[in-house]
Symmetry: C2
């Protein structure tokens, strides 16, 4: 193995030293400032020695965000599971592309194995699946499969002579459905965004009204996208009720469980996704809550062979039919990608090391911690929840600084709150105490979202520290800062 001199051997040490306990979560600099600080390091005009490279790499990492810290609560992912990371490192080193058995014999079996196990978990035991480079691309897989199932001629003839198709999703669902509608040729106007109730769940009655309306106008409803874990609130649509509607009108039901799918790992919480076994397709990202390194994203279907029929192109140079082994193990032609990383190995490593019991335990711990956070927020002065009870481990709330309390909460008060939340975030980031998400949502002005993940494994005291950081930064705000 060419090690680049001794560089490869040193990588583990560099990573560990630059992400260990004492390193700050973030050392925030403005873009131009950072560019200036790292000018020589970023420059690639001349080759450098291993020693100089190591110096630059260390500096790069010192200014990078440490997603492995418990105070990184900015996104729906966090620290990696160490076994998942080991799997990622091995997969990178072995540089395997997952399309044919001949180049990826064991990894092919591992992918089949993991997919089969995950299909069981979702109640689609006779289905099929594939690892995809993220939830947005899984959304495209779903729409492509739904459309192909309805109109197989799309593959050769395109959209031209097909009826007008419509797509249904909640207003709180992930934006990738809009990008997919554009790319796949439906257009964003074909997406019906159905309103949500106070808990952030699609209002099923309004879904049915929209479906009836489109049907009566000779449109073809091609897919209903059910969200199991919305990005901001963590809401889980009523899958059972929607699946009854989809059955009634014979419409493809896709469940975007990229975030909430991890709840199925626990017997205690799987009830929250009841009805998901009726889905035609499902997406789940173990790289979110479950801590697989990015990307680790599954697209599943209840129907076998559909994925292959829809997507195959039978390239002669890759998927030769006169090979000396059973070419049904060349699974790559069902993918939209050609070369494809062996992301399955990351999930396999986690599952092999921890077992389903270990993963159930992590799910339950994550949910308990989120519940503790929710209860703490509910009881602390100045904090106010956006919604409760919690569906996924998302806790959404405002922090109302003292000087804003006991006032009439009219429009201008809320406009001020809308500015206060990002300002608190700025103080939190610059002081490296916490990176936390904020967002407006529908009529709600900017609020915080803390989402919990399996890693790093937190304790109650960490939650209290986060809330304290928010409170302390919130109390630094004065009206002239806004």
């Amino acid at each position: 193995m060419d090690r680049g001199g001794n560089f490869l051997e040193r990588v583990y040490g560099i990573i560990e030293e630059e992400s260990s306990g004492h390193t700050p979560l973030v050392n925030f600099k403005y873009p131009e400032e950072l560019q200036e600080i790292l000018r020589n390091d970023l420059d690639i005009s001349e080759p450098v020695s291993n020693e100089e490279l190591e110096k630059s790499v260390r500096k790069i990492l010192q200014y990078s965000v440490k997603t492995n810290k418990h105070t990184f609560r900015n996104q729906l992912y966090g620290a990696t599971d160490p076994y998942g990371l080991a799997g990622a490192w091995i997969a990178e080193a072995f540089n395997t592309s997952q399309y044919t058995f001949e180049v990826a014999p064991v990894f092919t079996l591992i992918e089949l194995n993991v997919i089969s196990r995950v299909l069981d978990m979702f109640g689609l035991s006779n289905g099929d699946g594939i690892f995809s480079p993220g939830g947005s691309i899984s959304m495209m897989y779903a729409l492509v499969a739904a459309r192909y199932k309805a109109f197989p001629e799309i593959k050769s003839k395109g959209m031209k002579n097909l009826p007008e198709m419509t797509i249904y999703t909640s207003e709180d669902s992930h934006y990738s459905i809009m990008k997919a509608a554009h790319w796949l040729g439906f257009g964003t106007e074909s997406v019906r965004t159905i309103r949500v109730n106070g808990s952030g769940q699609m209002i099923t009655e309004e879904l049915e009204v929209a479906l009836k309306h489109d049907l009566s106008h000779q449109r073809y409803p091609v897919m209903v996208n059910v969200t199991a874990g919305t990005t901001v609130l963590g809401a889980i649509d009523d899958i059972e009720e929607i699946s009854a509607i989809c059955r009634k009108y014979k419409i493809w039901m896709h469940v975007d469980a990229c975030w909430g799918g991890s709840l199925l790992l626990s017997p205690k919480f799987k009830i929250k996704l009841k009805g998901i076994e009726n889905a035609n397709s499902i997406s789940w990202n173990p790289h979110k809550m479950a801590g697989a390194p990015l990307q680790c994203s599954l697209f599943l279907l209840s129907e076998k062979n559909l994925l292959h029929k829809a997507n195959s192109a039978a390239a002669q140079y890759l998927f030769q039919q006169d090979k000396f082994y059973d070419v049904r193990y060349d699974t790559g032609d069902k993918s939209i990608q050609c070369g494809r990383k062996v992301d399955a190995f990351k999930l396999w490593m986690i599952w092999k090391a921890r077992g389903i019991e270990g993963m159930a335990h992590m799910t339950e711990h994550t949910m308990e911690l989120a519940e503790f956070c929710l209860q703490s927020v509910a009881s602390k002065p100045g904090f106010r929840l956006v919604i409760a009870p919690m569906q996924c481990p998302n806790v959404c709330f405002w922090y109302i600084p003292s000087f804003m309390r006991h006032q009439v909460e009219d429009d201008s008060w809320w406009e001020l709150m809308h500015k206060i939340t990002p300002k608190i975030k700025e103080l939190l980031t610059k002081s490296a105490r916490l990176m936390v998400a904020y967002s407006p949502l529908r009529h709600h002005k900017n609020f915080f979202r803390i989402a919990f993940t399996f890693h790093p494994v937190l304790e109650d005291k960490h939650v209290l520290e986060m809330l304290q950081a928010i409170e302390e930064c919130g109390e630094m705000i004065t009206s002239d800062m806004l």
Copy 2:
């Protein structure tokens, strides 16, 4: 950092031991046989200790293909560049998603920096670009950009009311254009496959005839896909001539330089891609010839902001406009992905360590080696080239066993050759001497393709060993084996 006990520390050693010099290229087992051998190892029903996990991982790697061996010539990638691998390991450990500056400050600057350097290299200095999860998805980026440029209303209105669009590509081009045509709603019938000449290059006169024909039938030619390095023969279309045609008819020219783009790293070979600076868009995969670990794939455009305009969805929870820093550094909304790996860091590491001179040198060495292989094939009895001269470092040839020589080469003779090539491959694989690609192509019966990559760095003797292995396995063939 949670290390999974001591598991993470041990990974480097495991990788090195299981891929070092003495390990065989491949230990081929048939799928069912392999499943049986690894039954307990693959099983994930119960958690295992670190010791058991390590045992299983080592066994998995022992049956995996060692793409780092010089005898792995099965695909258009090979061993990884060690600096690129270091970059991959670091990126995985830091688990960074590339969409906003706040979570990926330095990696954002690195991506901008690398893209800018690569744009210069391709002569699109004022352009834009993005890292994508592979060449097939880059092909979709190209078609989406070309279509959006022609009909921006596609984004909201979809394909329904647009004129019939047509796409042009050579018959030897990559199959991903067919998959893209399906996904994006054009349909595969909208793809005009233009015939190639004896060197595998698109016949430009036939391109123009096809364009005129479609234009006279009120169709809208939306994109010409020029291939700079076809998958099998390594042919480079006449970019300059095609760009003149595209200019004349005002059609988007995309250059699929996924394979051949690496030639631009060398001043000596860049002439081969003359005219590429006229492209509207280009794709290049440094994970192929240049040895970046999979995936490392760039999509480039000559027009700034188009990518953002075409693809943005302005998600409120991620791309907030009221952030405390310059949100133009939140570059993720131009992507079709939401979360995205920092693949740029792998190329940056390689470039930083080696400099452009180092990469030029590797390009030249790779081409020299391929030329040596071509000359050897040309002069060795029993070997016959499919095409010469060489355009990219692909060498395509038949090995004709002694018993087949000096016969009339009629259809039945060629039918036998068609079976002989895969049979030699089988013997090569099972004896772990060489993994080499084979393919039929148009009227050509199954032949071998050896493609050369930067890594591992080979010498002439390795080439001779490969040819010797083919010859020896070829001579083992008897007519009753076919």
